[in-house]
């Protein structure tokens, strides 16, 4: 007695023929194990690769990252403030080996979404059934006049990607004489880590207060006002650092001069001892290579929030800072988007529907001194009508800092690093 395809489909409950081919515990287009390539091993990419393997052990996962080690930008303000060293931020990828991820130390230089391949600087080509891009941000050093020359000469840093610039900024602050001026430039929203600049100001002030109390901090903020946790930072600056910090909202930095050590806005030219200008940002260049950096501003990537698949290019997913969303650009958010994306890809590769109402939470801790801190916490729920994550309310930020939040901030760091990397 023969079984025809129609009978088989009736039993399995699957209508789509392609789903049937994919249905046997996940099969790739060629009938071999399904392949997912993840590019970028930061908070988003490393987490995605790990959870793909955890939830889809039949999936072949390749993780491509040019850096040897994971260096955490969250908590890097503690290094800049002299409270921790670079070792604290720097982690090995070795613990991910247990998941059987194919880790490739290389940089992707070309993406062919039609052929479904990525090609690396080292000349290797990887085919994929699904591609996950997690490149983080491209810092637009070209948008601040004189920045690139000054940066090359070591006169200005953004230190908005953790690594050598973090250590250099710390050295510059240590070398600064008492009574010197630290100028920090903040880009207009949206940018990576909204409270980051204000935490940096707080911890530099904490350092100055202890080591060089006549020093000043000048804040040139493109935003009209403190863009994140304003009550928390205002409380800290008034309580601990009165007279040290001058805040100028609506004062975007337009240029820097490394030779004369000057920072310019449309209003003034300011002499600085340490220049720390953070230019505006956009999704990593990889996203442009793939043709997915497609939001109205041309800066970020629009995605389907159930799967994080690009709305422009099929089978290419984007997670983390690069995503265009009314969601904070944080390491915590990237890590949690990675999990939703991983789960969705596992289901899709197995011919099933992904979770229809994903929910993602974000907690962002900011230290306000060497012993106090605060947080902002929100839960976002997928709304089918708006096709976006919506904050249903109930979240919020601490109006003042305390030692308990300071303790929980450190707990968060140890736990998220473990969640991402082990």
């Amino acid at each position: 007695m023969s079984i025809n395809r129609r009978d088989f489909l009736k039993v399995s409950g699957m209508g789509a023929a392609s789903a049937l081919i994919a249905g046997c515990a996940g099969m790739g287009a060629s009938g071999a194990k399904p392949k997912v390539v993840v590019v970028g091993a930061g908070f988003g990419g490393a987490t995605c690769a790990k959870y793909l393997r955890k939830w889809g052990p039949n999936i072949d996962v390749t993780l491509i990252e040019p850096n040897d080690k994971f260096v955490s930008c969250p908590r890097s303000n503690l290094v800049i403030g002299g409270l921790r060293d670079m070792d604290y931020l720097t982690h090995s990828y070795d613990s991910l080996a247990k998941y059987g991820i194919n880790m490739v130390k290389d940089m992707v230089v070309a993406i062919d979404p039609a052929k479904r391949t990525v090609t690396t600087k080292g000349g290797k080509t990887f085919g994929y059934d699904r591609l996950v891009l997690a490149p983080g941000i491209d810092v637009r050093t070209d948008t601040v006049k004189g920045f690139q020359e000054a940066e090359a000469a070591g006169k200005v840093v953004h230190a908005w990607k953790a690594g050598p610039q973090t250590a250099l900024l710390r050295k510059q602050l240590e070398a600064m004489p008492d009574g010197g001026v630290y100028v920090i430039g903040i880009p207009g929203m949206p940018y990576r880590c909204p409270p980051g600049p204000y935490e940096r100001i707080s911890l530099v002030a904490d350092y100055f207060k202890k080591a060089k109390p006549r020093s000043k901090i000048l804040v040139l903020d493109s935003n009209p006002d403190i863009a994140s946790k304003k009550p928390l930072f205002t409380w800290a600056w008034n309580s601990f650092y009165a007279g040290m910090i001058e805040y100028r909202g609506g004062n975007a930095v337009t240029g820097v001069d490394g030779g004369r050590m000057m920072v310019s806005t449309e209003f003034d030219d300011i002499k600085a001892d340490v220049m720390n200008v953070v230019p505006r940002q956009r999704a990593g260049e990889l996203c442009a290579l793939a043709g997915v950096r497609n939001d109205a501003s041309g800066n970020w990537c629009t995605v389907d929030f159930i799967t994080f698949e690009s709305t422009a290019v099929p089978n290419v997913h984007i997670i983390g800072d690069s995503v265009s969303a009314a969601l904070p650009k944080s390491g915590h958010m990237a890590t949690n988007q990675a999990k939703i994306c991983a789960a969705a890809i596992v289901e899709l590769l197995a011919g099933r529907q992904p979770e229809a109402v994903p929910v993602v939470a974000n907690t962002c801790y900011s230290d306000t001194s060497s012993s106090t801190g605060g947080h902002v916490a929100n839960v976002y729920r997928y709304n089918a009508e708006k096709k976006a994550f919506v904050d249903p309310g109930g979240g919020g930020a601490t109006p003042q800092g305390d030692t308990l939040n300071h303790t929980y901030a450190e707990s968060w760091a140890q736990n998220i690093w473990a969640d991402v990397l082990s």
Binding site: N336, V359, G394, G396, Y408, N415, A418, D419
Partner: protein, 97 residues
Amino acid sequence: MHKKLILLSAGAILLSANAFAVDRGELLASTCLTCHGAGGKSKGAAPSLAGLDKAYFVKSMQDFKSGARPASVMHRHSKGYTDAEYALMGEYFSKLK
């Protein structure tokens, strides 16, 4: 008869592929691990959730939401989920080793 048996077995094979599915409780709970630790085992001051009694978890989340139990941050997170979701997450954490 024979045809039905073969079809049912085929269906069972396809269904067993669902053994890899990420159930809603686990997916919801995964977002908690960023603060509460990989595998629900905390390396810091935040409490571990692995192996936590399900009823205790559900009651805690309800008490955080109502304010009956004071919290540093959990009053915020608890408001993002329903009672049914607490039960799903609680079920998952209770089984986590």
